[in-house]
Assembly symmetry: C2
Homo-oligomer: 281 residues x 2
């Protein structure tokens, strides 16, 4: 397929544009008409062959699913409703068209499930598959969940058990519905994309607080190490004042405290932020 | 530098957030509050090592400039004011930090010039430098320039001479100011990123019209071939009813006609759309 044919295939298989999307795929830019009294949230996430997935053992649909799930998980962390996305995709010219089609089907199936319109993107060639997904979501004005609002005394929760083993056919579900329930209730939230030791450290640093972890809920078969430092959970970590109840499924893991910003205490010692860093020294 | 250090460097060197940007670099998403009665336009463009530039002969600042210029040129083609951008950057872990710093300086200098805020992005590793830039612009409601409005009888113009020779230190200027002047006047517009033979073909196809080219304005030293099929001009091609005058600097190149959608006549023959296609069969 040439560039025009790939774009035409995507246009035919993507869900029809939503009411906010004035113009979708096919022009220099997509045109979007924002709704009144809403804030927008924007994120972009890479999915790179041999970094985030491998083509030999990953199902193409799972890779396409994951490409969008990473960005949707960031929208969930802000408590946002998904609105539209852009897909940038670079690949080897000789890539098997069947692989590409299955990759795109995985992507578009998840997009349809969450009602997020594919509004445009870019195509290019590259020695390996490189995908970058920009997603836009919306929240009522001033209601986006941020990292920097946690206060001493707040209780720390996660949206589900941690340490899911990595599976090549895994299609993690971004916690969009859960995130929506946190609006106006959570004082801070983020998604667990790099492991709770790293991500809670970041949340605490942004909020200028410390934390004590007292309980790590494990999925069956997971080790504590995987749950603390693993990075494929797509669960949310969030904080709420003790007088509020978390949404159903929320599990208490600790409490926010005064102390060195970013310091996490666990089992009477400081927990090192060992989660994922692409450029660790 | 590790991931946190690179993000901190970018945050320190980026221009301060603009008034629309509620929250910039550092959370799961950027938060943006759209202005009333405006449409937004969104584009995303790759800049990939050994595809769009080479690290051995391209000045790093020129590569960084080009990364943003490609997206800004798309905003110009819609007649939009630049608002904010997201930078996704993947690179080899052993990349010379001095190269990265100079690349980012080239990017941020152009961002500052056009008042576009860097609101966030993503960092990853990859065997080669891969950059993907999402840019958001804004226009008064309903005023975005599209490809699909050209009508028979409209005059075709370009915003400047074509066929600029490729230079490794070249810092092409996206035609933001020119695009703004076309709002409410041009019936169709797009930027010349893949050569006028290909791009005018696309404009005509989207508008369901044909075109006759009668004059190709060349930069000094350019061949007709370079001007027709070259892809580094960053000029705009646009159409206007004959009763309107183009903005200063606009050069007439032909006229829109009834005929096979996308057919371009030049020197009494059909002009093949030979511009750039990453996946030509």
């Amino acid at each position: 397929m040439n560039e025009a044919q790939i774009i035409e295939w995507i246009r035919r298989h993507a869900a029809p544009p939503t009411r906010d999307l004035v113009l979708g795929i096919g022009d220099d830019c997509a045109i979007y008409r924002p709704r009144r009294k809403e804030d927008q949230v924007f994120t972009t996430d890479f999915l790179i062959e041999d970094v985030h997935f491998t083509r030999d053992i990953y199902a193409p649909e799972a890779a396409g699913h994951k490409a969008l799930a990473r960005s949707l998980s960031d929208l969930a962390a802000m408590g946002a409703d998904p609105r539209f996305c852009l897909l940038s995709l670079a690949m080897p010219p000789m890539l098997d068209p069947a692989w590409l089609e299955r990759f795109l089907r995985g992507f578009l199936k998840l997009a349809k499930k969450h009602g997020i319109a594919l509004a445009g993107g870019d195509l290019s060639r590259a020695p390996k598959v490189v995908c970058d997904v920009m997603a836009c979501g919306a929240v009522p004005e001033g209601k986006a969940l941020r990292r920097d609002g946690a206060r001493p005394g707040d209780v720390i929760y996660v949206s589900g058990r941690l340490g899911k083993p990595w599976q090549t056919h895994q299609k993690p579900a971004p916690r969009i519905d859960f995130g929506r329930l946190l609006r106006g209730r959570a004082t801070a939230a983020m998604d667990l994309s790099d492991g709770i030791s790293m991500d809670l450290h970041r949340l605490c640093k942004a909020s200028g607080v410390a934390a004590s972890l007292d309980h790590i809920p494990l999925v069956k078969g997971a080790s504590l190490e995987q749950a603390l430092h693993g990075g494929e959970d797509y669960e949310l970590v969030f904080t709420m004042p003790p007088r509020l109840k978390p949404p159903k499924g929320g599990i208490r893991v600790g409490v926010i405290e005064r102390g060195d910003p970013g310091l996490i205490n666990f089992e009477e010692a400081a927990l090192a932020p060992l989660g994922h860093d692409h450029f660790r020294d």
